[in-house]
């Protein structure tokens, strides 16, 4: 079992939940506000989704309290995926 430096608390989970719900409402609202179709809309939606994902990973999945190596790994995986997108972009945007 992993050592947790914090004491478990329901409140913490509930706050995270509240944040996720609020972000869900914001992203729906934003999709209407941005017209839902432009490049801007896609970027905003992805940005909000990423903020939500960060909450889930950090708070629900306890990355905040885990060994630093997990953060490094997650960073590498994200970097990898982003570079795939960038390299594909170099082809598709310039073809």
């Amino acid at each position: 079992m992993s050592k947790h430096s914090h004491s478990p608390s329901y409140k913490y989970d509930l706050i995270t939940f509240a944040a996720l719900m609020i972000l869900t409402i914001i992203t729906i609202w934003a999709s209407y506000a941005t017209g839902g179709t432009s490049v801007l809309a896609v970027s905003v939606a992805m940005l909000i989704a990423t903020i939500k994902a960060t909450f889930v990973v950090r708070n629900f999945m306890h990355i905040k309290y885990d060994h630093i190596i997990y953060k490094v790994f997650i960073g590498i995986v994200m970097l990898l995926f982003l570079s795939f997108i960038v390299l594909l972009g170099i082809d598709y945007a310039l073809r």
């Binding site: 995270t16 179709t37 989704a49 889930v56 999945m61």
Partner: protein
Amino acid sequence: MGYFKVPISGHNRDDEGSKLGMWLFLFTEILLFGGLFLVYAIYRFQYFEEFRIIAEHMDITLGAANTVILITSSLTVALSITAMKKDQDNIAVLLLFVTIALALGFMVNKFFEWNEHIHHGLVMGADVFNNLQHGEGMFLFLYYFMTGLHGLHVVVGAIILAVVIAKIINGKITKDNFSLHENGGLYWHLVDLIWIYLFPLFYLLH
């Protein structure tokens, strides 16, 4: 230089090891979906108009409802792990049951949604579908593929959680030994995580 004993063994319990293994597996899952996200990204820009038009058929309300369901289920799993750590077995089990119920709700919702599409002929093989623009068909296919694969993960996740429930009741999972519970939780959060991206990509961006 020195003499020492053989330390840890592959057959001993190693919770940190199991958790590491689970995380590595989650990375694999993320990249499995990642391939699909790459395809989506490319075609989204290639067929911007078609994707927009066909996305009109998506029901935001149903999508939002499922988003709320999944986030809530993520909460209940997180709470049940907290309960486990506090040695409140009964609450933990109860919360897991709620999670599975929510998973079921998600799938029922999904079923109605797909049913609706099929009813309108928006499915591979139907005439309406065959007459769609190429980009529109692509969108629908990716929609079925990605949400279908995601649905499969929901089912698998629910089964894992059911096993966890059984083991808690049997006393095999306890305050000092809840690695499976924790890992099941991690898997469940991944399911939520992926949906967080699927929701805007398929429902919101029209």
